[in-house]
Symmetry: C2
Subunit: 311 residues, 2 copies
């Protein structure tokens, strides 16, 4: 390596329930290297933590520690930001109650910043994605559930404990479908990929269809498959209209596995927003697709040490 | 006046559809003087602007301009913060399109900061009221409509144009009552004083009852009057649960003319919040009465110049 010629970089890790990925990204947002593997939940908590440390080390060994400015890690679940502890995670129950930040710091001998995965994705889009030109945005991730991240003045809005942004648990149908969170009618029970699958069954499309199956049926012109996406779009529109009225932010982004079905859910979504938000009608508000796909979390995680340096 | 012994002060003006009030308040939050009069809408735009300037001058003449740090004015309606223009106001349509900030500055010869009235009330509660001990809070004002103010890190969250905080227009009943904003099922159509009056009629209590009449019936044990407040409480609970899930702030305040009926709407409200927000159940979240009553806007307006000085 030619010392001094390389740009400084950070490492972002995205720990999912299935995949563990890490990337080295320069301060100007260029991805230098990426590694990925499985999240070995079966092997237990220590193995997962060791794997995270190993993925970081693999990158820093290759690129050198001299130019490494810091490490950020995106994890699914609630994080008590002050303590770096995961207090709840549906995808990684093995890590609940674990001070993941300290455990990784101990292993790599350097400071680590933890962030919720949806927040990290929102931050990644703000840094290098669809939100590059704004300071304030809301991101919704449409997958098995619906996650949310709120960026205000270029940073994650965390709230008191770091639990802010749970947009998937906004009530959109007061007497709607029951949710694991205790509520009924949560957005994620009416607009996630899982919700589309449930609606496809109700609409008589058959049992065991995945959201992708329903999408393909919709592409073939199946009216009931299209209706499932339209209903999801309406629920999204109700939530987004309220969010626009609450925040008056310039940008609302959607990402996640359901994004390819945009053409089927977006028209109903935009119609609800148009009807339900005078703020939308009276200001320049964009509702758009996120751009970074499943790399948003990596970018966001890598951006964390840079933000921390800004103070 | 004994020069140098007096604390520096600011002047806050609260311009309502009915009343025009102004107060001189010291930097440590002590109200020195208060003047109030009517908002002379009939006399036209110029008269209202002149009256605002006169009320400011009355206070500064009395207390001296040497110690006056600035002037803040709370107005009902949407303000384009960058321009100081009221872009829309149900209560003061005469001032729509008027650059109220510049008009007052011209008259008093000193800088003026404009703020939406609900935002100012939220800021007042943060400075000297129920929110003194926190940096982040949401205030809902329960009156003819429902206003909202969001305080984040000690300041008003304005959004792109200053239109943020329109909590009264969150959708709580997707197919609910039509609202003047174009939506159906807005919070303010299901939980404001006006909504309570409409529900009292639907529940067979008779025509033309004011919210205060319904409150007195509830006090006398009238079950249908109590039901009207319970339903308002449920709608408030649905909105507050979503807000808590979105913000994870430590404090949510309620103020306005409906506050005396707290005992009748709060139980249903808290039950909905408890059920619909796991964040509420897993964090220290307070939902409380605001403390400053109709002086909150004066305090908030007076606080604006101090906040601006902090930069």
């Amino acid at each position: 390596m030619i010392v001094g010629l390389m740009e400084k970089y950070t490492i972002g890790v995205d720990l999912g329930g299935t995949n563990l990925r890490a990337a080295a990204i320069t301060v100007s947002g260029k991805m230098l290297e990426k590694v990925s593997g499985e999240t070995r939940l079966d092997a237990g908590r220590e193995a997962v933590l060791d794997d995270i440390a190993a993925s970081i080390r693999r990158l820093s060994d290759q690129l050198g520690t001299a130019d490494l400015l810091g490490v950020g890690v995106a994890v699914p679940g609630f994080i008590r930001m002050d303590e770096g502890v995961i207090v709840g995670s549906n995808n990684l129950p093995e890590l609940e109650g674990v001070c993941v930040r300290d455990e990784i710091e101990k292993r790599i001998g350097a400071p680590v910043i933890l962030e919720n995965d949806a927040n990290a994705a929102a931050l990644g889009e703000k840094w290098m994605g669809a939100g590059k030109d704004v300071e304030d945005l809301v991101l919704l991730t449409l997958g098995t559930g619906i996650g949310g991240g709120i960026i205000y003045r270029g940073r994650v809005l965390h709230g008191a404990l770091g639990m802010a942004g749970e947009i998937g648990h906004m009530t959109v149908v007061p007497n709607g479908n029951p949710c694991g969170c205790g509520n009924v009618g949560c957005l994620e029970k009416h607009a996630s990929a899982t919700a589309v699958e449930a609606m496809a069954y109700v609409l008589g499309l058959g049992e065991g269809l995945t959201c992708k199956d329903v999408y393909e049926l919709a592409c073939q012109g199946n009216e009931r498959a299209r209706m499932a996406f339209e209903r999801a779009g309406s629920a999204l529109g109700i939530a987004l209209a309220s969010l626009i009225n609450i925040f008056n932010f310039p940008l609302y982004l959607l990402s996640g596995g359901m994004l390819p079905a945009w053409e089927f859910f977006a028209p109903a979504m935009m119609a609800e927003i148009e009807r339900r938000s005078f703020t939308f009608r009276h200001s320049q508000t964009r509702v758009e697709k996120a751009l970074l796909g499943n790399e948003a979390g990596l970018y966001g995680a890598a951006y964390l040490p840079l933000l921390a340096q800004k103070g």
